[in-house]
C-alpha cells in the first residue's frame, strides 16, 4: 500500500525541526557527496547525454538523496523523511500511463515514454504565465491555440490590462478578492474558447498564486473540472508548503483524475551545477509522490505521473546548454528506472521574444532534447523570460512548439544532440545579452481576421524549412 497524502502531511507536523538554510546546505552537501561517489562530472560538449549507465546511476543517486534528504516543510519548519521502501512502493504501483486529461473525444492520456520512443508527447498549448491586456485578446489567443491540431490542452495566463480588468479600474493582487475573481474569469474564457473551437472536452490548466484562488476555479460548468489537472506538489528544491499541499487536499476532495509529483532544481542554486542538479530533480520526483494525493486505488484507475523542471539561477531561458543537459539527464534517469510518465519542461520559457528566430531556436532545442529523452507531455507556448510584458506572446509560437514536440517523437538521442548543438550555436551567445525582445500578438496577427500576418507566416515557414534541413520531420497533420 502506498503511503497516503495524509500520512505525509502528518509527518510535516511531527518530523524534527530544522532551519531552512540548514536544509538547503544539506541538499548541496548531500548531492555533492553523491556526485563524488559516482564520479559525475559535467561535460559541456554533451548537451543531450546518451550514456544509459550514467542515467541509471543518476537515478540511483537521486533515490539515495531522496532517502537522505527528505523534504523541507516550510510551514512547520521540519525535515520530513521517507524510507526507500516507501518510495519503492509508489514506483511499484505506477502503471506506465495516466488517463483523465479532458473528457469525451477530446480526452487524452499520457504514456510512459523512453528515449527515442515513437509515441507522441501530449502538448499543453497556449503560453503559460502570459499576461493579456483585455479579455478579448486572451480569448482570441486561447481559441487560436486550442484549434491547433497539435494542441491537446491549453494553459491559462491572466488578463491584467491596462486598463485594469475589474470594472476597468481595479487591479489584480494575490491573496485578495480580485485574485479569486479574475483567475476564475480567466478559466471561464478558456472554457468558452475550447467550446467555440469544437473541443469542449479538451483539458485546461490554470494556476493561481494562492491555493484559495486555485481552489475557487473548480466548477464543472464554467471552470476547472475533475478532468483538468489541478493540484500542487513540491515547490522548488525539495520544499513543500501548505499553499501547495492545500491544492492537493482539494484535488482529492474534488476527485481530480490527474495527480503528479514534481522535482525541480535551480542550476547554480542549492542544487549545485549541472553535475548535481539532476540528482535533486530525481529526488524531488520521488519524494513528491507522497504529496501527489494519489493512493493505490487512484493510481490503479488513472495512473500517476511526475513533472520535472529546471531553472538556471541567472539565465532566463530553459534552453541554456546546462539547462538542456540537466533536464535531459534527469528525464532519462526517471524514465529508464520507473514506469512514471515524465512531463518535462523542454523550453517553455525562452529568453527571446515571440516572432524571432532566436525564440524558435531556443524552444526547438529545448523541446527536441526533452522528447528525445523520454518526456511524455510538455508545456508549449512560451512567455519569454518567465514573465513577459503584456501581450508579448502569440499562438504562432504555441503552434511552433506543438509541431516541434510532435515531430520529435521517435528521434534518437544522438540525432537530437546533433540538431540541438546546431541550434545552440545560433543563440547561445545571446542568452544573457543581445537577445531580441520580440513582438506582440497585435504585431504578429491581424487581430480582426484572427490570422497571422503574411510576413510572420513567411518567417514561420522559413523557420520550418531551416529545421527540416537539420533533420526535423514535421508532420503534415499538425501543419
Amino acid at each position: 500500500m502506498v503511503l497516503t497524502f495524509w500520512e505525509a502531511v502528518e509527518r510535516c507536523a511531527t518530523a524534527p525541526r530544522m532551519e531552512e538554510r540548514e536544509f538547503n546546505m544539506k541538499i548541496w552537501k548531500t548531492v555533492t557527496a553523491l556526485a563524488k561517489e559516482y564520479g559525475f562530472e559535467y561535460d559541456n560538449e554533451v548537451v543531450v547525454p546518451t550514456d544509459g549507465q550514467l542515467a541509471d546511476e543518476v537515478f540511483e543517486a537521486g533515490l539515495k538523496a531522496a532517502v537522505e534528504l527528505g523534504v523541507y516543510s516550510r510551514d512547520t519548519q521540519r525535515n520530513v523523511r521517507f524510507t526507500e521502501d516507501e518510495i519503492q512502493e509508489f514506483l511499484r504501483a505506477a502503471t506506465g500511463k495516466q488517463s483523465g486529461y479532458g473528457e469525451g473525444v477530446d480526452a487524452v492520456e499520457i504514456i510512459h515514454r523512453t528515449p527515442g520512443s515513437t509515441a507522441e508527447p501530449v502538448v499543453y498549448g497556449a503560453p503559460q504565465t502570459a499576461v493579456y491586456s483585455t479579455p478579448e485578446v486572451a480569448y482570441k489567443i486561447y481559441t487560436l491555440c486550442a484549434q491547433e491540431p497539435s494542441t491537446d490542452g491549453i494553459w491559462g495566463g491572466l488578463v491584467i490590462g491596462p486598463p485594469p480588468p475589474i470594472e476597468g479600474k481595479y487591479e489584480i493582487n494575490a491573496n485578495h478578492p480580485s485574485e479569486i475573481y479574475q483567475y476564475r474569469k480567466e478559466v471561464e474564457l478558456m472554457r468558452k474558447a475550447i467550446t467555440a473551437v469544437g473541443r469542449p472536452g479538451m483539458f485546461i490548466r490554470q494556476n493561481a498564486p494562492t491555493a484559495q484562488a486555485t481552489i475557487a476555479l473548480a466548477d464543472p460548468e464554467f471552470g476547472v473540472r475533475p478532468t483538468d489537472p489541478m493540484g500542487g506538489n513540491l515547490f522548488e528544491e525539495l520544499k513543500i508548503d501548505w499553499n501547495f499541499a492545500n491544492r492537493t487536499a482539494f484535488a482529492i476532495a474534488y476527485h481530480t483524475r490527474v495527480r503528479w509529483s514534481a522535482g525541480h532544481a535551480f542550476i547554480g542554486g542549492f542544487s549545485g551545477g549541472p553535475a548535481t542538479a539532476p540528482i535533486v530533480i530525481v529526488a524531488g520526483a520521488l519524494l513528491g509522490l507522497f504529496f501527489s494525493g494519489a493512493d493505490d486505488e487512484h493510481i490503479k484507475e488513472y495512473g500517476i505521473s511526475t513533472r520535472v523542471g529546471k531553472t538556471h539561477n541567472r539565465i532566463k531561458s530553459r534552453a541554456a546548454r546546462s539547462c538542456i543537459y540537466v533536464g535531459s539527464l534527469a528525464c532519462q534517469a526517471l524514465v529508464r528506472n520507473t514506469r512514471l510518465p515524465v512531463c518535462a519542461q523542454g523550453c517553455d520559457h525562452p529568453v527571446a521574444g515571440a516572432g524571432t528566430a532566436q525564440f524558435y531556436y531556443e524552444c526547438a532545442a529545448g523541446e527536441i532534447a526533452s522528447v528525445a529523452s523520454g518526456s511524455s507531455a510538455n508545456p508549449s507556448g512560451g512567455a519569454r523570460q518567465f514573465v513577459c510584458p503584456t501581450d508579448h506572446v502569440s499562438p504562432l509560437e504555441s503552434k511552433w512548439m506543438g509541431e516541434i514536440l510532435k515531430a520529435s517523437a521517435g528521434m534518437s538521442q544522438e540525432r537530437a544532440r546533433g540538431i540541438v548543438e546546431v541550434l545552440l550555436s545560433r543563440y547561445e551567445d545571446k542568452l544573457e545579452d543581445g537577445y531580441p525582445e520580440g513582438y506582440t500578438f497585435q504585431q504578429i496577427y491581424d487581430v480582426e481576421k484572427e490570422s497571422v500576418k503574411p510576413e510572420f507566416e513567411r518567417f514561420y515557414t522559413h523557420m520550418k524549412d531551416e529545421l527540416e534541413d537539420l533533420g526535423v520531420r514535421f508532420k503534415e497533420r499538425y501543419a
Binding site: 552537501k29 493582487n173 485574485e179 522548488e236 531553472t311
Partner: protein, 217 residues
C-alpha cells in the same frame, strides 16, 4: 611571513569557505601588524571578487556564496575588534533589509542577491519570503537600515513593493531609507512609477546599484 603573503592567505581563507580558517587568518594578520583596512581591501575582498567572478561563470554556486560571505563576516568581525570604531565603520558598506513580498514564495533570486550583498560587505537582514510590509518596515527601523530591498516574482504581488513605500510615507520615515525593487515582472519604469530609489535587473546589477546608492547617501 611578509605582508604580501598574509594578504594572499586572507584571500585564500575566503576561498576555503571556512569561517574558522578565515577568523584564524584575520587574527594572524592583526598579530603581524597588517592594517585591518588593507587586510579587508587587499586580502579578503580579493577572495570575494574571485568567488563572485566564478559564480557568474557557473563555476561556483549559491552555497559557495553563502559560505564565502560567512567567512568574510567572521574575518571582518575579528578585524573590527582590534581597530578604532571610526575605522571599523569604514569596513561596512551599509545595512540592508531584504525580503520577498507577502504572498510570493519565490526566493531563489532574492537569496542570491542576499548572499552577494553579504559577500560585498553589507550587513544583511534577510527576512525570507512571503513577508508582510509592516514586518519589513519594522525591521528596517529596528536595525537602522540604509536600504530596503523587496523582491516580487509575480504580476499579482509586485504592488506589495509599492506598499512598502506607502508604509514608509504613512509613518513619516520615507526619507530615512532607500528602497530598491527587483524580480521577474518588475522594470526600471515600475521602480520609477512607484517612487523606488533603485532597481536591479539581475543580482549583479542589484549589488552595483546598492553600492552606488550608498555612495550618494
Amino acid at each position: 611571513m611578509n605582508e604580501e603573503s598574509i594578504l594572499k592567505k586572507l584571500t585564500d581563507s575566503i576561498l576555503s569557505f571556512d569561517e574558522e580558517v578565515a577568523k584564524a587568518v584575520a587574527q594572524e594578520a592583526l598579530d603581524a601588524g597588517v592594517d585591518p583596512l588593507k587586510a579587508l581591501e587587499k586580502g579578503l575582498k580579493v577572495g570575494i571578487d574571485i568567488v563572485g567572478d566564478k559564480f557568474s561563470r557557473d563555476e561556483l554556486f549559491l552555497p559557495h556564496l553563502l559560505m564565502a560571505a560567512d567567512a568574510l563576516n567572521a574575518a571582518v568581525n575579528v578585524l573590527k575588534k582590534n581597530i578604532p570604531r571610526e575605522a571599523a565603520e569604514k569596513m561596512q558598506v551599509g545595512t540592508i533589509v531584504i525580503a520577498t513580498v507577502k504572498d510570493d514564495i519565490h526566493d531563489v533570486g532574492k537569496n542570491i542577491v542576499s548572499a552577494l550583498l553579504s559577500a560585498s560587505g553589507f550587513e544583511v537582514h534577510d527576512l525570507g519570503k512571503d513577508v508582510n510590509v509592516a514586518l519589513i518596515v519594522d525591521k528596517a527601523v529596528a536595525v537602522d537600515a540604509d536600504i530596503i530591498m523587496a523582491s516580487a516574482l509575480m504580476t499579482t504581488t509586485m504592488r506589495r513593493q509599492k506598499g512598502i513605500i506607502e508604509e514608509l510615507e504613512f509613518k513619516g520615515i520615507r526619507d530615512q531609507f532607500l528602497v530598491m525593487v527587483g524580480g521577474g515582472p518588475t522594470t526600471q519604469e515600475w521602480a520609477v512609477k512607484i517612487g523606488a530609489d533603485g532597481y536591479g535587473k539581475n543580482a549583479a546589477e542589484a549589488i552595483t546599484v546598492a553600492k552606488k546608492l550608498m555612495e550618494k547617501k
